[in-house]
């Protein structure tokens, strides 16, 4: 079964919890710690390339990152496709590139291009009818009917709940597999999201950690992503390491070279160094049998 079909099967069984990553190494960590799906964040991918999440990162850079991530893990990958990187014509290409990269599902949002992170100030949305067409174009462009198309609306912050709900319903009507209202900051907002959409038979994705997965499931959500998990962890640890280096002139040796000192796989284990040594033996790369 393909990864997109597996993702659909998982959603049938219950809520899918997908921690956010932005590179292949962290995707491997998600798999090895026992999660069943991975989310790839555009915010993190932009940060990885040194930019804020304001639509500067291109479709090809996102696709390239996704290719590496999908190769690094067997898990279904849910990805951020921003606005689809242009109009409906661009959306068609994005869908094909993402599918070819191996993505199981992805979300396309109704912000104007270039977009902004869902939690930033100054968001603006395109007319609802225009995004309905984008969602339809995305559905039509799928090569694999199992690919999960998630329609995201960013209308909550600029336009309020009434518009956000109308958009969510229209995108679902257009055939979107899931709806994603982004920018949920409080439990009250999450409650409205749940009662007005998720519990009314519209499959929804929740981005955030205001409630635990079992509660999110009870609230009717199909997917919960924690988009910022990896970036926050790296920001904290890399900043602390630099401060430690500045203060004491030294950083922790074991972690620096070989990964976490506690139980579990090191960086080199998870990247497959042991398998490389095995292959060298199998194909006699060092020419030892010839000597």
């Amino acid at each position: 079964m393909g990864r997109a079909a597996r993702l659909r099967e998982m959603m049938e069984r219950g809520l899918v919890l997908a921690p956010g990553v932005y590179n292949a190494l962290f995707a491997k960590a998600v798999e090895s710690t026992g999660f069943e799906a991975v989310y790839v964040t555009g915010f993190g991918t932009a940060a990885r390339y040194g930019y804020p999440d304001v639509g500067l990162i291109t479709q090809s850079e996102m696709s390239q990152n996704l290719r590496h991530i999908c190769r690094a893990t067997e898990l279904p990958v849910v990805a951020d496709a921003d606005t689809g990187y242009g109009n409906i014509i661009n959306v068609r290409r994005t869908v094909r590139e993402y599918e070819r990269a191996g993505v199981a599902g992805f979300h396309i949002e109704d912000q104007v291009f270039p977009k902004k992170c869902g939690f930033m100030e100054g968001k603006a949305v395109i007319p609802m009818e225009e995004h309905v067409q984008k969602v339809k174009a995305a559905l039509d462009a799928r090569a694999n009917p199992d690919t999960v198309i998630i329609a995201r609306t960013d209308a909550l912050a600029p336009n309020g709940w009434e518009d956000a709900l109308a958009r969510a319903r229209a995108y679902r009507e257009a055939g979107a597999d899931l709806i994603f209202v982004d920018g949920i900051r409080t439990l009250d907002e999450l409650d409205i999201y749940s009662k007005e959409l998720a519990l009314k038979g519209i499959p929804c994705l929740y981005n955030g950690g205001l409630v635990a997965a079992e509660d999110a499931q009870r609230m009717g959500f199909k997917i919960q992503i924690l988009a910022g998990l990896s970036l926050a962890a790296v920001f904290k640890s890399a900043t602390a390491a630099m401060q430690e280096l500045n203060a004491s002139g030294i950083t922790r040796q074991t972690v620096a070279q070989f990964g976490p000192p506690e139980e579990g796989e090191t960086v080199n284990d998870i990247l497959g160094v042991p398998e490389v040594y095995e292959l060298e033996q199998r194909y006699d790369i060092k020419g030892e049998t010839a000597q």
Partner: protein, 284 residues
């Protein structure tokens, strides 16, 4: 425009340059924001973030792409890992041109056989010394700007022992390398040998590791020190966050507006808002 290598040369003339390990634009920005005067792009980390072990699978083009992002992300000189130069002397020449065009201040080329492996892995092998002398000469010839810093690395300590490593280091310096880098220094005894037999003989050297605090390494006379947690530290932090998430059943950390703002500031969001104002049209 001043070549970034010139900035690095000025800094090296003042004392030892500390270049923390970074593997992407984000960690480069974090290092620079904490006052790093240079950053070091690790090949191990560049490979890791695309899911590969550091055994020569990552291509020169992939390294250059990452280098470009890091260079654009920070104003400080970038010292870059260039492995073996990705082939023979001809490949090394193209690598030098691509790295220089991408904006590197310095790069190191090592004497391992291709495909290489991480300097701290088992099973390293070196090409004959003469072959690497030629590669260094080729690299020096390929520079567009003579300020580009070419660092010759030897991996000979582990497979061949110190005598061979010293001989190689001296030969690479004689061939014109700006700096020499003996990799795989695992003990203080090794660091002492490195210091007395090369650094104190007047050969400009780079040290990779954290056996001693920065000031002590500097007082030994090294010109550049590359150090820090890099991607392994990030991996440990992400792994811990994932394990915490499991325990919490999906409850993430509470939304931290302060950290969110610190992250977006680090990435240049305030400048974006300023630009939006500066280039705004009237009906916007």
């Amino acid at each position: 425009m001043t070549h970034p290598g010139a900035k690095l040369r000025v800094a090296m003339a003042d004392g030892m340059v500390l270049a923390p390990f970074v593997y992407d634009g984000f960690t480069a920005r974090i290092a620079a924001s904490q006052g790093a005067q240079a950053v070091y792009m690790t090949g191990h980390g560049t490979s890791a973030q695309i899911g590969l072990p550091d055994v020569g699978l990552t291509s020169m083009a992939e390294m250059v792409a990452n280098l470009g992002y890091i260079v654009n992300a920070v104003d400080v000189p970038v010292v870059a890992d260039a492995d073996t130069g990705y082939g023979n002397a001809i490949n090394a020449q193209r690598t030098v041109r691509e790295y220089e065009a991408a904006g590197a201040a310095a790069m190191h080329l090592e004497d391992q056989v291709f495909p290489k492996r991480c300097g701290f892995f088992e099973g390293k092998e070196c090409v004959p010394m003469e072959e690497h002398v030629q590669k260094i000469r080729a690299a020096l010839d390929a520079r567009v700007d003579p300020d580009m810093v070419i660092i010759a690395r030897t991996d000979a300590v582990a497979p061949n022992g110190w005598d061979d490593a010293i001989q190689r280091a001296e030969a690479y310096r004689l061939a014109g390398a700006d700096l020499v880098f003996v990799d795989g220094i695992k003990t203080l005894d090794d660091l002492d040998i490195y210091t007395t037999r090369l650094v104190e003989q007047g050969i400009p050297c780079l040290y990779n590791g954290q056996l001693q605090p920065v000031p002590e390494v500097a007082s030994r006379g090294f010109k550049v020190m590359i150090t820090g947690g890099g991607h392994a530290l990030s991996y440990a932090a992400v792994r811990q966050a994932l394990l915490d998430l499991k325990v919490g059943g999906g409850i993430g950390e509470p939304r931290d507006t302060e950290r969110f703002n610190a992250t977006t500031s680090l990435l240049g969001l305030p400048e974006i808002y300023e630009l939006e104002q500066r280039y705004a049209t009237e009906n916007a």
